[in-house]
Amino acid sequence: MNLERRKFIRYSILVSLGSAVGVPVVYANNLPEGLDLVGLKEDLITKFPGKSDAMTVLNDRPINMETPAHLLNDDLTANDLFFVRNNGLPPHKVDVNSWTLTIEGESAKTKKVYTIEELKSKFETVSYQLTLECGGNGRKEFNPPAKGNQWSTGAVGCAKWTGVRLKDVLSDVGVKSNAVYLGYYGADTHLSGDASKDPISRGVPISKAMEDESMIAWSMNDRDLPKLNGYPLRLVFGGFPASCSGKWLEKIVIRDQVHDGQKMKGSSYRTPCSPVPPGAKVEDKDMCIIENMPVKSLITYPRTGATIKVDQELPLAGHAWTSANEITKVEYSIDFGMNWTTCKLDPSANKYSWQNFSTKVRFPEPGYYEVWARATDIDQNTQPILLPGWNPKGYLNNACHRIAVKIEA
């Protein structure tokens, strides 16, 4: 176990102990260094700072956890239920007062450094409801299987983010006309402990960075960002794979070429430029960076496995989201896709917010049913029933969500 890992484990336990016994972390800091937490093994950390026990943990090093579908039923995803996709180890000491964001790069007119206080005072504070979804959400279903965290349906959430518009800050720095891409660097560290390696350093095309809803955020649902979701500062880009939304944000580079940081190359967050048969070997040069995420929906009520009587109506609810301007229709089917019925659909709070859908469903006779949901966006994109195009790393699975329901006499 390397030193950074030890420190992080120690830190996580101290944090959870802090909240467990209702004392601030400073009390836990009295813990003598040599005690080594009574020889606690890393797998004893079944609790993660700021996260609900109800999360499904896919990996504890780095921490990756998703939210069971029925716990995403709220209009906005609570901070302790928001999924975590970490590539490295989060910084174990964060001083929000001395934290700085540096903006520089080949296509930056100047280099500027901002404290969080300066960001707050210098630029307009804005809030947006933005959906973040991991590019690999749904990977578990691909066949042949794709390597990596086997996300099922819960690497998605929608929160109210508060911060400043990225474009306001970029304009203050000055963006040269040859700017192509924006890259980020965070304070998280590589799993190997090698300080020269970045766990992840991705970004977005400059046009995406300049959208109104592209943010540098310090708050999630009117509270500090959770430690595992980037505290104290992060990027938030709705509609793009969540890996673009850099956490523990320390530096932004304005590039005159496509950013070439960690996980921008190879098969990471890239899919074949042209469709390939399942299981194909695809050369790096034939892989293209994922930009817009596909239209998708999730049934969040009831939890799969619900049993009701044949004379009862089943309330059905969920969310639908897209990288297009808005969702225009959500339908459900109880007969394996032969017939589809339209649900009630709420308007979007803003672009990239998920939209709630709901309806009541009657079943004709006792038996086993599956309820399937399918969303359509304003550009007429909809969801496949089978898996969409196979790709080596299993990204972009937007096949319709299915729950099982049993109807009794």
């Binding site: 009574v38 943990v57 990996n59 504890d60 086997q150 089978l386």
Partner: protein, 175 residues
């Protein structure tokens, strides 16, 4: 008389002043006596002991994990409890080769053919600093290809009936 009265008056005043001072002192003493326990408790507050920590962890409902830490080699139903890996003669080799760098969950949740697992090892060697595995590599690949091979699920698998927990949905509350 007036002079005498004056003197008596002065003595009386001095006595009253002394009495006040005494009362204040007694009160201060009482306050100190009452808070001494608290102050001492604060000064001698317990440092983190193993028991204290375990109690805190137990409060958080993870007592099982604490108790289980001694069962390093425990195998239940063919599964190594500590890591969740399937047990066979190469288990220790897998634990020592893989889990010093990453979670065993990264193995148990993935499925691949022998060549697919080899590609992952090559990727770790190329990008994550994994050294050459030498003679251990074929054994590691045997283990992975045997226990974590892909299943033929077609274009989309059925919902996993074994995973579904059936429950009666109480609609009274929502209606």
């Amino acid at each position: 008389m007036e002079h005498h009265d004056f003197e008596t008056d002065g003595l009386w005043r001095s006595f009253l002043t002394l009495l006040h001072v005494a009362i204040v002192l007694v009160l201060l003493g009482l306050v100190f006596a009452l808070s001494e326990k608290t102050i001492n408790e604060y000064l001698n507050r317990p440092t983190f002991s193993k028991e204290h920590l375990e109690e805190s962890l137990r409060k958080r409902g993870i007592a099982r994990a604490v108790e289980r830490q001694d069962d390093w080699g425990l195998i239940e139903n063919g599964i190594h409890v500590k890591t969740g890996l399937k047990n066979d003669e190469n288990l220790q080799l897998i634990i020592s080769s893989c889990t010093s760098c990453h979670s065993a969950k990264l193995i148990t949740q993935n499925r691949a053919t022998r060549s697919g697992w080899r590609q992952m090892i090559e990727w770790m060697q190329a990008t994550q600093g994994l050294p050459d595995l030498g003679q251990a590599e074929p054994k590691i690949l045997d283990y992975l290809a045997k226990h974590y091979a892909p299943e033929q699920i077609g274009r989309r698998a059925n919902l996993n009936m074994a995973e579904i927990e059936w429950y009666i949905l109480n609609l009274e509350e929502t209606e």
